[in-house]
């Protein structure tokens, strides 16, 4: 009898995946061993469901009545075999998800919650479950590294906090630091992690600096005092770390006077708007698109930007915070921009895969999906015929630019933050000069 047949006689009750399994020389470890499951259900153990629904945040998992509405709208389901209802069924069969790779697939994009008639809230369930997995020491190494960076350096990349405002040097305008101004400002700009450190984020930061300056806004940044907002760490399961970062930011902000807190990152916007108040930090916070949209009449566009553009709604600006109009108002204000919507847009926007810690877990997610969410999204953008994919979340330029390359669309789709497009139309000479310099 072959090994495979002998193996086939084993009962692997309650085990959904075997970590390491080689059968007849074929490696069926992990995901591939799902075929080894005992087919007949011998019990409906409730321990796992009882345990999860006993966790703060896990309660609503029990409310699932298995309509399956969440499955077709789950971005992971489009590229893999995963969805909230499927998670519920696993739990109903006794899997506490602690060792299940599914635990790390959710991007907290909130599209399931949008359609769920019973309001089963993965945005609360996932952080609660991941926190338990982290406590049990079973989190992906990639995530561990990011958490360590956030703790030690205050940013996920592990960059020096002193370099947080280095982008400002090349902005071409003065970038005021609030501690150096020593006075109240109208607008404090929270730059955020990827805008501060990623080269493509830097482009957006500099564009924002120029636009604010031209508009005559009284503004400043925190500079090296700024730390990560912590929101993605929170949904990735590190609530303690989130609270630490939040407390540090709240303390820093308490030293200064400003009317509005304007943020570049929708994740940071979500944190400041919805999660900092409970920790004692309440601000008049706006995403930068919300701040700029009412000012379009004051913007002087010196050049047409002849572009057919599609727009990717960030989950944390759209579904999480119900803002769909401000980015579109800005895009439509730019002379020469033609906006073509993708099939999945606004409330049904397709996730880029970066949320919920996904930004840091591509290598964890990759084995479970046929392609990355960013790749799928890029295909959808290319199919519109637009030459530009406009974004307004700093997670996206790097994700989508990688996806443009990996899907073989290099040269066909230009990924641009909306602020870059605004800046280009307002300050064309800056771009002409830069390009001339580059040549």
């Amino acid at each position: 009898m072959s090994d495979f047949m002998q193996r086939g006689l084993d009962k692997v009750q309650g085990v959904t995946e075997v970590e390491e399994a080689v059968i007849d020389g074929i490696d069926v470890s992990g995901y591939w061993s799902r075929m080894l499951e005992e087919r007949t259900t011998l019990d409906f153990p409730t321990d796992a469901l009882d345990w999860i629904t006993g966790l703060a945040g896990g309660e609503s998992l029990r409310d699932c009545y298995q309509c399956g509405k969440c499955i077709p709208v789950c971005p992971i389901q489009h590229v893999g075999d995963y969805g909230p209802w499927k998670l519920f069924r696993k739990v109903q069969r006794g899997n506490d998800l602690m060792a299940d790779p599914d635990l790390w697939l959710c991007t907290t994009c909130a599209n399931c919650l949008r359609v769920c008639p019973k309001q089963v809230n993965l945005l609360e369930i996932m952080p609660a479950l991941r926190e338990q997995a982290i406590l049990q020491g079973s989190m992906p190494d990639e995530l561990g590294e990011v958490f360590a960076n956030l703790q030690k350096k205050g940013n996920p990349q592990g960059e020096s906090p002193r370099k947080r405002a280095n982008w400002a040097t090349d902005a071409g305008v003065d970038v005021p630091i609030i501690s150096e101004l020593g006075r109240k400002v109208d607008v404090l700009l929270y730059v955020s992690d990827y805008t501060s450190y990623h080269p493509r984020g830097n482009d957006a930061a500099r564009a924002m600096a120029r636009v604010l300056t031209t508009l005559g806004v009284d503004w400043a940044i925190l500079g090296k005092e700024e730390k990560s907002d912590g929101d993605s760490a929170r949904v990735a399961g590190e609530r303690g770390l989130f609270e630490m970062l939040a407390e540090q930011n709240i303390e820093t902000l308490s030293k200064y006077e400003f009317d509005k807190l304007v943020v570049m990152d929708p994740h940071a916007y979500n944190a400041f708007k919805n999660h900092y108040p409970a920790l004692g930090g309440t601000y008049d916070v706006m995403h930068y698109t919300q701040f700029l949209a009412p000012l379009v009449d004051r913007m002087e566009f010196k050049d047409r930007v002849e572009l057919s553009t599609t727009f990717h709604d960030p989950c944390y600006l759209g579904r999480h915070n119900d803002e769909y109009d401000a980015p579109r108002k800005l895009l439509e204000a730019i002379p020469g921009v033609e906006l073509i919507e993708m099939p999945h847009y606004k409330k049904n926007g397709y996730c880029c895969g970066g949320g919920g810690g996904g930004m840091w877990m591509d290598s964890v997610v990759d084995p479970h999906v046929s392609e990355r969410l960013s790749e799928r999204r890029v295909r959808e953008a290319v199919d519109t015929g637009a030459g530009t994919l406009a974004v307004c979340c700093p997670y996206e330029p790097s994700r989508f630019e990688d996806a443009v390359k990996s899907t073989g669309h290099e040269g066909q789709l230009d990924v641009r933050d909306i602020i870059e497009l605004l800046d280009r139309a307002m300050h064309p000479t800056h771009y002409n000069t830069s390009e001339a310099e580059a040549e």
């Binding site: 007949t40 259900t41 011998l42 409906f44 469901l49 029990r62 409310d63 069924r89 069969r93 019973k118």
Partner: protein, 353 residues
């Protein structure tokens, strides 16, 4: 020409119809085969009503108070209709009591409120073993235990660890001949599941279903609390076999959401038996020559906009004599039947004058 309405059946439908006719100022002749009013909820000993959890006894007492000791109502308890003749406006109906004594009443209109009976699980075609295994019971049996505020394994008297409700027993089944949904069983099972969880908090309670039919407010008043607050486990898929294993019951079926077989040990299995026309409904239909549908319930040709007028002029129907009904349907039909019956009497009286 008679100014009286005959109400046949003393359950919720009959009591509400009689009260309504009397309230409209007409005379009622009421006949009930048992020695007391209350009908099936009384005879089967219902404990708590669905979805309100109100005591069935208290609710029935209120209904009884609407008909007893009223000058408009002549009550014939322990009696049945044995003969009828005549037509709308002037029926002549012969009643007979247990002693064989007969009395003839002249009435202008008739309301049939002869109700349903619970499906006999011995007729089901799966192997549920109601007559083989003591721990396989029906909703009616469960209700009796719940009324006594206990829920145990009938075979041992011990508290059960695993309790299963199996839905659609005798309903939605062409093989059995009952193609209709019995309408109330999903709600009653869920109500009982809540009561079982209250009485035996350590028990796991499962409901195996094809579709949960929790229409209207039953959804949020019964189904959601059962699932969300009382942790009742709803599993889609119907059980097709119950066999003895040791001193427990091995329940076999297919979990259709997962697409795989299930074999789970249970301590008590409750069969959610549906509704069939009562013997009284079948016999009264033939006595009055009222057309029945293929299932034996009284036919209501004007449905859905007229839910109470039968195929015979002057004869109306209320409650589960006309098919599966919940209590809301039942009392609503009773009121509508009363209005139509009294309306007919008045029209006839006007015509005669």
């Amino acid at each position: 020409m008679s100014d009286a309405v005959l109400v046949i059946g003393g359950g919720p439908a009959g009591m509400e119809a009689a009260r309504s006719v009397a309230d409209l100022g007409s005379r009622v002749v009421m006949v009930e085969k048992r020695d007391r009013l209350g009908g099936t909820p009384d005879e089967a000993g219902y404990a708590a009503l669905t979805p309100s959890f109100e005591s069935a006894e208290e609710a029935l007492d209120r209904m009884r108070a609407g008909v007893v000791d009223r000058p408009e109502v002549t009550l014939h308890l322990g009696s049945t209709v044995v003969e009828a003749s005549g037509e709308a406006g002037s029926f002549s109906v012969t009643l007979q009591n247990a002693k064989g004594e007969r009395v003839t009443e002249e009435v202008g209109a008739v309301i049939l409120a002869t109700g349903f009976q619970h499906f006999d699980p011995g007729r089901e075609t799966q192997m549920y073993g109601y007559y083989e295994h003591e721990d396989v019971i029906t909703l009616v049996d469960a209700e009796k235990m719940l009324k006594a505020h206990e829920f145990v394994r009938p075979s041992t008297g011990e508290k059960p660890r695993n309790v299963a409700f199996i839905q659609c027993v005798g309903s939605r089944d062409r093989r059995i001949g009952n193609e209709y949904c019995s309408k109330v069983c999903c709600g009653i099972s869920s109500k009982q599941a809540i009561e079982v969880r209250r009485l035996v908090p350590d028990a796991k309670v499962y409901i195996f279903y094809i579709d949960m039919r929790m229409y209207g407010y039953w959804e949020n008043q019964i189904y959601w609390p059962a699932q969300e607050e009382y942790n009742v486990n709803y599993i889609r898929g119907i059980v097709t076999e119950v066999v003895k294993k040791g001193d427990r019951l091995l329940m076999k079926g297919e979990d259709t959401t997962m697409g795989r077989p299930m074999e789970v040990l249970m301590d008590v299995i409750v069969l959610a038996v549906g509704m069939e026309p009562s013997l009284g409904t079948r016999s009264i239909a033939s006595i009055f020559g009222v057309p029945q549908n293929k299932y034996g319930f009284i036919e209501v040709p004007g449905e859905p906009m007229d839910a109470v007028t039968t195929g015979v002029s002057g004869i109306y129907v209320a409650g589960a004599a006309a098919g599966p009904k919940d209590l809301e349907d039942t009392v609503s039909m009773a009121g509508a039947a009363a209005v139509k019956a009294v309306g007919l009497l008045r029209a006839k009286a006007k015509g005669a004058a």
